[in-house]
Amino acid sequence: MVLKTYRQAINEALVGEMRRDADVILMGEDVAGGAGGSGEDDAWGGPLGVTRGLLSEFGSDRVLDTPISEAGFIGAAIGAAAAGLRPVVDLMFNDFVGVCFDQVVNQAAKFRYMFGGQDQVPLTIRTMIGAGLNISSQHSQSLYPVFSYFAGLKVLVPSSPYDAKGLLTSAIRDNDPVIFCEHKLLYDMVEDVPDENYSIPFGEANLLREGQDVTIVALSRMVHVATEAAAVLAREGIEADLLDPRTTTPLDTESILDSVEATGRLVIVDEAGPRCGMASDIAALVAEDGFGHLRAPIVKVTPPHVPIPAAPNLEAMYIPDVARVVEAVRRVVAY
């Protein structure tokens, strides 16, 4: 094992699967380093450096720079997937799903069902989520609740380099359309990541910490905020079960319900919006199927219902932080 960044882990999953299966191709804006220019090819690796080196190894038939036509190239990726390739598409910021939403939620998600199971659409869409870079409300959203609304999609929210590599590997091998949500503040996070390929199954939550007083469910970058909060709480004698679902569709409802059965208390920490979001989704699950074990209100720690501001101070107010999680847990424990 070697320390690797989230960025490297993603790159390794791509390389690994492209070596393993010649049907895996890559498409997206600048993923080949910017085609047609007067400089070097493949020196850039896209806005995030994630795809560097792939063009050189796999060639321009398998690593395709696209025009700024998300509906066009995601539609093309769906068609290519239905015709036997396994495209991995880069959507850059998940906010841009706005310009290709029909392709994602109406075409990719429903292609199999609507035609009675004739086809499969092994498509992976990699896309960046999350606030924290002061780039305002159209480049900072976390839209996995919206993706999770639609049957036919699978949705992943890896919170660490290890999970990113394993889940992306599974996504590429999976025969359904998968949205792989990379949090933009995690790219430089480092962790031990094996060199070899490995896969992590969907729908299996990661139990990061065990405790009997409260269940904390946290997603994506909020896992780290919740981890810190849990450490603070432990010093006060409050022990939390900390769960990272890792995938929102399929969702590991069993682990969540089992944990709440043991603790009787649930706090959900999520950076996505408060209305019809993942926090609501999980709270509603437990309020129906785990009600008998609940000993306190289910508290959701999310941003308020507001677009995301650019200004650093306001953006910091937007994103849930350790203090808010600690306060929420104290409240439910004291209930």
């Binding site: 190239f73 539609g75 068609g79 390739l85």
Partner: protein
């Protein structure tokens, strides 16, 4: 072409009588387009259909019984009753259904063409698109993509004069779809879609070009639409004479018959024979489709994910 026509004329009657679920858009009048396209396609090619789907599905060689059953949402319809009239999909025969929004066949077709090239199958993709759908952004995006990647794609715009009720002349800037070809760096032509031979020749050239690896083409096929946008449409927006005149002057079946007879290719008797056989077939198709059972309730939650069936 006769099969497509007879299928639709019967559908028109059946719909009026009730019992056909959903919305139904009839292809009558446009048959030479689908026939002219499908004449050039082989098993490895993909045809991307529109919502006006019955005719092209039949022309592409999908089982006509399964087509009818899908329109009736039956369990052994092409899509096991999940899609209905507008979504006739037969993957094994290289027929892909329309997905709403309209026009997305161009993008999906880019993908089918890309896969064919990457895998070296020699296949091409042909996307059918309406004159209304040409104004969807994804169509422009797809045309551009096909052009810069030189994909084996042919985009056939079936201009039947209307997108629902709105006239193509009103909705399309510059008045011509073929015009857009040049903007996207590909050859484009406008052809008379009431003449099977004209369509077929034009598509043949474009398909060969695509197969050779020389990139995409665009063809605007001018066709009449004999019925309304969908069944039940009162067609207030066009004069009754317009459709009548089209039936009189631009019926591809009449033109085809005249042409093959005068060229001595076929005789009137053999054509009549075919028409008679078609009439029988259509009768059987509708009888069987209407009698077929709906999909089993127990399969309601199947086919969502690849591992869910």
């Amino acid at each position: 072409m006769r099969t497509m026509r007879a299928f639709e004329e019967r559908m028109h009657v059946e719909f009026a009588g009730g019992g056909v679920p959903g919305f139904v858009h009839l292809y009558a009048g446009q048959e030479a387009s689908a026939a002219g396209v499908c004449a050039h396609l082989t098993g490895r090619d993909v045809l991307l259909n529109t919502h006006r789907a019955h005719g092209p599905a039949i022309a592409r060689g999908a089982d006509i019984f399964a087509v009818a059953k899908e329109i009736y949402c039956r369990g052994d319809g092409l899509c096991r009753g999940r899609g209905g009239s507008a979504h006739l999909h037969d993957a094994a025969n290289g027929l892909w259904a329309a997905n709403s929004g309209v026009g997305s066949g161009v993008a999906l077709g880019c993908g089918a063409a890309l896969a064919a090239r990457t895998k070296g199958t020699g296949g091409v993709a042909v996307a059918l698109v309406g004159d209304g759908a040409v104004n969807q952004g994804v169509v422009s995006e797809g045309l551009n993509l096909a052009s810069i990647w030189k994909l084996p794609l042919v985009v056939v715009f079936e201009n039947n004069g209307y997108g629902e009720a709105t006239a193509a002349e009103y909705a399309i800037a510059g008045g011509s779809i073929a015009h857009r070809a040049e903007a996207f760096g590909m050859p484009g032509h406008r052809v008379d879609g009431s003449d099977y031979f004209v369509v077929s020749e034009s598509v043949g050239t474009a398909v060969s070009r695509a197969r050779r690896g020389d990139g995409p083409s665009l063809i605007e096929v001018d066709v009449p639409r004999f019925f309304g946008h969908f069944e039940g449409d009162a067609q207030t927006y066009r004069s009754p004479e317009e459709a009548e005149r089209a039936r009189r002057e631009r019926d591809c079946l009449v033109k085809f018959r005249e042409s093959v007879i005068s060229d001595g290719v076929l005789e009137a008797e053999s054509l009549d024979l075919i028409d008679g056989e078609v009439a029988h077939l259509i009768e059987r198709v509708y009888t069987e489709a209407k009698a077929a059972p709906l999909p089993p309730d127990s399969e309601f939650m199947e086919y969502i994910y690849a591992d869910s069936h």
